[in-house]
């Protein structure tokens, strides 16, 4: 049989594509197949996410997650993504999925990146607020400590720094 595309070279690839129940058969040569990449979308689907899904399936963590799901289904409250869906697709549904999966992501990140903590760029506005909030927490703890130990001069200093930071936060 000759290739359906060029009609010259012998057809070496025989494919059946089923879209919405409609079956189409292709008989084409290797040359035309390369040019006509769209026929092969099924083959190109093997991506990094398939590999990720593989990593997650063999993840011993997943076993313990499954066991614990009997009482409470693991599902992201914002987008509804389940752990099972995540381990199948290898993709998050929204930024809150990171919170819902929490520490369970550590082994995965360690395998992909060798790391679990970001040390790069921090966005000016959203990240800046985070930084300030963290500092505020520390200052408030210190304030309580100084009040408890009746070191009022130091406590007053903390109070002033807290006020300054709170003002800065309100402005940004």
């Amino acid at each position: 049989m000759n290739c359906e595309e060029c009609g010259k070279r012998p057809a070496t690839l025989h494919l059946t594509k089923i879209v919405n129940g409609e079956k189409t058969e292709y008989h084409i040569c290797e040359h035309c197949a390369q040019e006509k990449g769209d026929v092969f979308t099924g083959f190109h689907n093997f991506s990094i996410n398939n590999l990720l899904s593989g990593l997650l399936k063999f993840d011993p963590m997943q076993k313990s997650v499954k066991e614990s799901t009997s009482t409470k289904p693991l599902r992201c409250e914002t987008c509804g993504l389940t752990y099972a869906q995540f381990s199948k697709s290898g993709r998050f549904g929204c930024s809150d999925c990171y919170t819902f999966l929490g520490d369970r992501l550590d082994p995965l990140f360690r395998r992909i990146h060798g790391n679990t903590q970001h040390i790069g760029k921090v966005p000016e506005r959203t990240g800046g607020q985070l930084k300030i909030r963290k500092e505020l927490e520390q200052l408030k703890q210190a304030l309580q400590k100084y009040v408890a130990s009746e070191e009022f001069e130091k406590a007053a200093e903390m109070r002033d720094r807290i006020r300054a930071l709170e003002q800065k936060m309100a402005q940004s």
């Binding site: 390369q34 549904g93 930024s95 990140f109 679990t116 966005p123």
Partner: protein, 359 residues
């Protein structure tokens, strides 16, 4: 530039054939992935949620701060036909994923096409900077400034521990993927390439073909990029990539000098045979075209061929792709028709090298 011109004009800034180490490094690309808080990622977003993201992003693109730097034009994916999408992919301005699978996808392009911002690809925002030659730091500077402007107006999904939150776990942290497209014919000819590729995988970098994930290295072109995005700073990622690319560039130069010194006649014969085929062939398959163009480019870089401009080669690299050939012809073409048109296009452009490039 109108939408039509982006499709018809084969030229992008990255094809200029200039910049540092342009005999080996064709282009430098930097991509920054960002997402918006409280919006589902494109994978799960509904059409109206997707539209909302496009609206927010284009609003920022039209803001004064960004307009001062780049006059970006928006192209909505549902307003371009499949052939036009393919042309944008062949020019490296959008990814195959945005062209084929995204819903409510859009791209914002600068007139010289060195900046392209994809909206609703795998992530809400993907800022891409594409420059000719070896220019990692410059690409980062341009990209990070655009990122800062977006961040002033939009609520980014960012987490103290995980960094920038992305749809795929492989991009989390910095969200940056930097890459250089390298032309390595001498390392391929001297069969050193597989050894080098193996070593690369061990230092957190990855090599792909020129059209990204899953594509083969046509015409001795290799795309070297960082793999790790979490736990390394942007500066570390870029300097790691820079260092390794630098090594490969030097190795390629050594291999070229070796070939020239020890096998000059064989090498020249190969280069001139390819030159001859490109000048006279009546039909050329894309794979062969890529290989012959690689040989001729090597000939130019070694000074063996002096009457062809390397700019023409960069242009042909793109214009001989199936999408571009069909866009140029204004119709769908069978593979045989494409092979014929490809051969004609190459003959005409090479014969026409006296003509200033880009006209």
């Amino acid at each position: 530039m109108s939408q039509q011109q982006f499709m018809q004009n084969p030229w992008s800034n990255w094809m200029k054939g200039e910049g540092p180490d342009s005999d080996i490094v064709i282009s430098t690309r930097l991509r920054i992935a960002r997402n918006l808080r409280q919006h589902p990622f494109p994978l799960l977003a509904t059409d109206s949620q997707g539209e909302e993201v496009v609206r927010k992003v284009t609003e920022v693109a039209e803001s004064e701060a960004l307009r001062k730097r780049h006059h970006l034009q928006v192209i909505h994916m549902d307003q371009v036909n499949p052939l036009e999408k393919r042309v944008l992919v062949e020019k490296h301005l959008i990814s195959p994923h945005l062209a084929e699978e995204s819903r409510k996808g859009a791209v914002l392009l600068s007139p010289d096409e060195s900046v392209s911002i994809m909206v609703n690809e795998e992530d809400h925002i993907r800022i891409q900077v594409l420059l000719p030659g070896f220019r990692l730091n410059e690409a980062w500077e341009i990209g990070t400034k655009i990122d800062d402007i977006f961040e002033k107006h939009l609520n980014y999904a960012f987490d103290e521990t995980r960094g920038y939150l992305t749809s795929c776990p492989t991009n989390v942290g910095t969200g940056i993927r930097a890459s250089v497209m390298l032309h390595l014919p001498a390392l391929v000819m001297t069969q050193q390439i597989s050894r080098i590729l193996q070593a690369i995988n061990q230092v957190g970098l990855v090599v792909r073909g020129i059209y990204g994930e899953g594509s083969e290295a046509l015409g001795n072109l290799f795309q070297l990029s960082n793999q790790v995005t979490l736990g390394m700073s942007e500066t570390d990622i870029l300097s790691n990539l820079y260092g390794v690319a630098r090594q490969i560039i030097e190795q390629e130069r050594v291999a070229r000098a070796y070939l020239l010194e020890h096998t000059r006649v064989t090498l020249e014969d190969r280069i001139f045979r390819s030159y001859g085929i490109l000048m006279y062939a009546r039909t050329v398959e894309s794979k062969e075209a890529a290989q012959r163009l690689s040989d001729v480019r090597l000939g130019i870089d070694l000074g063996v061929i002096s009457d062809v401009s390397p700019l023409v080669l960069n242009e042909l690299l793109v214009t001989t792709q199936p999408g571009f050939l069909q866009q140029h012809a204004g119709q769908k073409l069978t593979p045989d028709q494409r092979d014929e048109r490809r051969a004609r296009l190459i003959r005409e452009r090479i014969a026409d090298t006296e003509r200033p490039a880009g006209t």
